[in-house]
């Protein structure tokens, strides 16, 4: 999933300062799973904004709506009827959601309530960890299912640096050394031969070669 964290209230307030009628829009997919932009968080943020305005003697109107996905037009369309009645959209979507909503409603300002952080997994309740950088050239098959690009602080392809100690990374001792995991897992899987191989330089053009990436699938385009 794509994870995100809510911005500090003061930063959100500063962006909303010129507006009175606010449409607070959540997203029911990734950011709901990581408890930053789902229906519940929309309710909490809208209440916080109302309460704050009341304390400061301002009047605002904050209307709450949560759609299934802010990154897919057929779901964004559910906002169409309401949008015209508000000065601003406060999006609790990820960066993709905020931009898709802004694209559909170019006349209404859209401001982000979240900082989009990473692609990761829910490790345990209240703990999300990054494990994919979307490099466009997955090599997990050679690294025992541990991504060195993401989980090694230096993105090393050819073994651990000199800072691996007792299974921990020197950069963040709370994080396991990715290469310790790779070495252990390949050893136990009887694939230590993969540890001797020299991996050539990565092809980063698959990640950032010509600006924003696109996927075009003709087989998916025919019906519309």
């Amino acid at each position: 999933m794509i994870t995100a964290e809510r911005k500090p209230l003061a930063e959100i307030k500063a962006m909303l300062a010129p507006y009175r009628k606010i449409l607070v829009v959540g997203c029911g997919t990734c950011v709901a799973e990581c408890a930053s932009g789902g229906e519940k968080e929309v309710g909490l943020l809208a209440s916080a904004l109302r309460m704050d305005a009341q304390i400061e003697g301002r009047t605002i109107e904050a209307h709450e709506m949560t759609i299934d996905r802010q990154c897919v037009y057929e779901f964004i369309d559910k906002l169409t009827e309401a949008v015209g009645r508000y000065d601003v959209i406060l999006s609790l979507g990820c960066g993709a959601g905020v931009q898709a909503v802004a694209e559909v409603f170019p006349k209404t300002p859209v401001v982000p309530a979240l900082n989009t952080t990473f692609i990761g997994e829910t490790k345990e309740s209240g703990l999300w960890v990054e494990n994919c950088r979307a490099c466009g050239d997955c090599k997990l098959g050679y690294f025992a299912g541990v991504c060195p690009v993401t989980r090694c602080a230096k993105g090393l392809f050819n073994g651990p640096c000199g800072g691996s100690k007792n299974g921990a990374c020197e950069v963040d001792p709370d994080s396991p050394c990715a290469w310790q995991l790779i070495v252990e897992r390949l050893d136990s899987a009887g694939r230590s031969d993969l540890l001797e191989a020299i991996y050539p330089p990565a092809d980063w053009s698959k990640q950032q070669g010509k600006g924003p990436r696109k996927i075009v699938r003709e087989d998916q385009r025919s019906e519309s």
Binding site: A153, L156, P160, C161, G162, G163, Q180, E184, L195, A202
Partner: protein, 310 residues
């Protein structure tokens, strides 16, 4: 003017090599480098210049190497992959060779979060092993990454680092083997305080025959104080300072601790001199370069061999 690497000559002529480290200043003054060069001249075969070590901005390694070369020393250009992508790295390799620098040490570099620019973007386009391989191909085949031909290949003696004290221990020698296979010709190790563990590592190195593929220079850093020993033991990852070293430093009066640190360094060098598979020492006297001549003399490594020069 030396056309070839002095370090390479010393090693290929079967001498026990001595290199030292020179940290560039946090400023633009060339005199600091010249002074450090003057202190080391004649006592070491080559001088490494660190590349923004620990992610702290300093005078560039390339510039400092050029200054040392003007002073008649044989510099080892340290280059990390943290700050430059493959375009800049390869360009600087050519630039170094054109300036007459004849040794390069390829590293990934300390993570930027440790330095004084923690908000910097870490590049890590390629890793140290990929970098070694790239430099070797540039030199031997005259080709850059991707296969395009150079008009003139760089002339460099290619080095890498090894840390026998980091984990996973048994993988350390595998990684050294990869560095040798990638094209490294000499290796400088992390500072050695735990000789027992180092001896175990060098045994694994010999078992794989790697001591016949690369020249191995053991790293030695003289301790200035008991506090420094404790700090290195607790705070510096990948550093192994055993309790007996710490208690030995603590056991002497603070005003004599520098003397004790020098004694430990000299004893370590003597042990390394007689260890099969070790071809030299690399003395990293951190901001204490003026102690190097004394250590070299006390270890019986002075004068340094005269190698054939052009």
């Amino acid at each position: 003017m030396k056309a070839e690497s002095n370090l390479k000559n010393v090693l290929t002529q079967h001498n026990f090599a001595v290199t030292a480290e020179c940290g560039p200043p946090k400023g633009a003054d060339p005199v600091v480098i010249q002074k450090k060069g003057d202190i080391l001249k004649g006592y070491v075969d080559s001088v490494n210049v660190t590349d923004n070590q620990t992610g702290v901005v300093r005078l560039s390694s390339m510039a400092a190497c050029a200054i040392l070369r003007q002073e008649g020393l044989d510099p080892v250009l340290q280059m990390v992959t943290r700050d430059r992508n493959r375009i800049a790295l390869q360009s600087d390799v050519l630039g170094a060779s054109s300036l007459g620098i004849r040794n390069i040490l390829c590293l990934s570099g300390d993570h930027q979060s440790f330095g004084n620019q923690p908000q910097a973007k870490g590049v890590f386009d390629i890793d140290s092993i990929q970098f070694i391989q790239a430099v070797r191909r540039m030199r031997d085949e005259g080709l850059i990454i991707g296969g395009e031909k150079l008009s003139e290949p760089p002339r460099l003696f290619i080095g890498a680092v090894a840390n026998p004290f980091a984990d996973p221990f048994d993988y350390r020698v595998v990684r050294l083997g990869k560095k040798a296979a990638a094209g490294a010709e000499f290796i400088q190790t992390q500072c050695i305080y735990n000789l027992k563990r180092f001896a175990e590592w060098i045994r694994q190195v010999r078992d794989r025959g790697l001591d016949r593929k690369v020249y191995i220079l053991g790293g030695v850093t003289p301790l200035k104080s008991a506090r420094m020993a404790e700090y290195m033991s607790r705070q510096v990852a990948g550093m192994d300072v055993p309790d007996n070293i710490i208690s030995r430093m603590k056991g002497v009066d603070p005003k004599d601790q520098r003397r004790e640190g020098i004694a430990i360094a000299v004893e370590t060098i003597m042990a390394l001199k007689y260890m099969e598979g070790v071809h030299g020492v690399h003395i990293m006297a951190i901001e204490w370069e003026d102690v190097v001549p004394q250590i070299v003399e006390e270890a019986g490594l002075y004068p340094r061999p005269e190698t054939s020069r052009e």
